[in-house]
Symmetry: C2
Subunit: 439 residues, 2 copies
């Protein structure tokens, strides 16, 4: 993973960071790195996330899912950190159902919402007797996940399928899912201790579906290890810290939005994963940089006008892999299009990448480039680890609590109360909505 922060410099962009300011910031980065390393050495809550490449037992995951590797479809039932890492990994390496048929991998369906129409569609589509169900919830009580699980279980029972033979559970040491797994002798993997969901991609939480699909999960972990090896006490020597430090510095100078724009269809979910990582970790105490998900080249025709000519309140991150399978564009005699003929889609995509990057710089809009050699397990693992480390570094620089998410509890209590799951004052507040209806 290589990070080029040249277009974030004050000599190029406004907001931009001067070379002097980066040197100054680097002293704080050095101290932050020491703090992070101490946290890792103690396996401290949150910092332990950066130890996953050492802790995650790929063989144990592969053993646990072995009985399910003949599955023709995989259903991940989870939400947030319990789904986004898995979806990201499976899409990047191939096999997300939304991307269509894949000769090499059973398609992964992600049941991460409680829209009844969608749940019904998915249950009608998958061959229930040849589907592996992967339920993920640390607590075992996540309302959406458990509701969907109950529905999936009932659908399987109605279809005469023994769900206990088709299910793998990833959960904490205790809770309803752990009890269910024990009672029915189902494969059960551990949500890693001390690792918030959004940091758990390089654990069973993110790797089980990929393992069922036969992907190279050791390679992903190896990539994470390479990411760990590249951490250093200077942003100039650590791509991950360069990214985190520059994002923070740009936010300090007004770039309150960070647009994550991979030029890879297979990294579209990565941008979603990044959005949770960045938003949920850094959105604290009135601080935080808002992630905006984008995709190149598509969003040049949607967002680029705003990025170039709107408020100077954003940074754009462009991500690409240097090696790719390609497809020639045939020669053509169509007037004005001859220049495309004989080129290739990959060359066009690369030209768009460089043109968009340069167009942002020409408009003085800060942007950062992230490059991978190719989209393989090692590179993807290194990318995910790198973003996690960048986020943790940014959390140190902001001086916020990176590893919790207290603001989501209010809504959980309100929803539970509305459904009759207890007496919560939050539910009463719902009834007191201020209304100004226009129709």
């Amino acid at each position: 993973m290589r990070v080029d922060i040249g277009n974030a410099l004050a000599s190029v962009a406004s907001p931009g960071v001067s070379r002097d300011a980066l040197d100054q910031l680097d002293e704080t980065v050095a101290r932050a790195h020491e703090r992070i390393e101490r946290g890792r050495a103690d396996d401290e809550f949150g910092y332990a996330s950066l130890n996953l490449p050492e802790r995650t037992d790929a063989a144990a995951i592969e053993d646990a899912v072995e009985p399910l590797t003949d599955a023709e479809a995989i259903l991940t039932v989870g939400i947030g950190g319990s789904a986004l890492g898995a979806a990201t990994v499976s899409q990047a390496l191939g096999g997300l159902s939304a991307d269509g048929e894949n000769a090499d991998a059973a398609p992964l369906y992600v049941l991460d919402n409680v829209d009844p129409a969608r749940v019904r569609e998915i249950l009608a589509e998958v061959p229930l007797d040849r589907t592996a169900v992967n339920v993920v919830s640390r607590s075992g009580t996540t309302a959406e996940t458990l509701s969907n699980f109950l529905v999936v279980r009932e659908a399987m029972e109605a279809a005469g399928v023994d769900w206990t033979e088709r299910t793998v559970v990833t959960t904490g040491e205790e809770g309803p899912l752990r009890e269910l797994a024990d009672r029915h002798d189902m494969p059960a993997l551990d949500v890693p201790e001390g690792v918030p969901g959004r940091f758990s991609a390089l654990s069973a939480v993110g790797l089980v579906p990929a393992a069922i699909q036969g992907h190279d999960i050791e390679g992903l972990i190896e990539g994470g290890r390479a990411g760990a090896d590249s951490l250093a006490g200077s942003l100039f020597e650590s791509p991950a810290y360069a990214y985190g430090a520059v994002s923070y510095a740009l936010d300090q100078r007004g770039a309150s939005i960070t647009a994550m724009m991979p030029y890879e269809e297979r990294l579209e979910y990565f941008a979603e994963w990044f959005a949770q990582l960045w938003a949920e970790s850094l959105g604290k105490d009135g601080l935080g940089q808002t992630p905006a998900r984008a995709l190149g080249a598509t969003d040049q025709h949607s967002q680029l006008q705003l990025y170039r000519a709107g408020p100077r309140d954003k940074m754009v991150t462009l991500v690409r892999a240097r090696e790719r399978a390609d497809r020639e564009i045939p020669e053509t005699d169509i007037d004005g299009l001859a220049y495309l003929g004989g080129s290739s889609l990959g060359e066009l995509l690369d030209a768009e990448f460089e043109a968009t990057e340069a167009s942002l710089a020409a408009a003085g809009r800060p942007n950062v480039r992230i490059e991978l050699d190719r989209l393989d397990a090692e590179s993807v693992g290194e990318l995910l680890y790198g973003m996690e480390a960048a986020c943790i570094l940014a959390g140190e620089l902001y001086d916020i609590e990176t590893f919790n998410q207290p603001a989501v509890e209010w809504g959980k209590r309100a929803a539970r109360g509305l459904l009759g799951g207890g007496d919560f004052e939050e539910a009463d507040a719902v009834a007191e909505k201020t209304e100004l209806l226009v129709k």
Copy 2:
């Protein structure tokens, strides 16, 4: 379509708009409405978009696509406004390929990027001899669209398929695609005059795939008509103007980000479509409100921490349909989850909607509710029209040029230059990239 702006009031939120300020703003809204009506009466460039429900000839579209209605798959080759409207309509009414099999509609694949791996995947998946190709480009020279079209055409030829019998073209009066359609006697529909791509959903541009799929395009247009009928010289009487005016007012007070959060999986693409509409129209001269795409309930577990506890720089729009197909949650004896049993996924989704809305209000974060009766053609048409009208009103309030997108030209010239399509100084700038590489 009903819009509730109660939670955007200063009595609830900060930033928030006082009732007095709304009354004051309403005078400007009245003048803006007059300006818009004048523009419509003259079919003026851009304002003509709001005349589409009167102009769009559903029968002509259905006639043009009639030979293709036996298609088992549809390939829309287009980008930006030439793809997002179609994808939105087909997803909302059913039949986007990414959403899986649909008993009622041939799946729509959207080729809106030049990622060679993805293009190859799609071409390998669709039955080329039973696929309808829908090429959309006003100019007929959009690089990504024409490159993809050349590749698709070659794939069909290689498969022994007469592409001229399987293709419908939507383009301007002139240009390479119009010439191609004339030369090969292919069905050709008009990109409407005076309507920028992002405002063209209720024209052939957005409706052709839905027509092939057998959806109720008259209903969509009828919904647009209802939207037009609901425009009035006061934000208190026009849901669309309420939405546009409040979004503008909140941005003036610091809500520079607008998170569009439908609680409908079938409106996920709607949020993408909205993002182009809002960003590309309003991102001018250092102004503009940045759209962030979100989805309920999923993103409660991703973005809500930031929305509630991050900077006070955003508004959130929650969208739902009141009637929906539902799915019961089975009774359960699992400890602590009994409250879910006997409820339904729809009730849970509604509880999450109301809880999230209330949780934002409790944290003083401005939010707006948009409700539809159900997700049918009329409601979807009204929603799309309403957002377009809201956007045009906002453009009047910002005093910017709503209907162009000049900032995207630089990158187009640079990309063309890089591919040898002419001498453009922008391409030279690409080679002068400032580099600060960390690896």
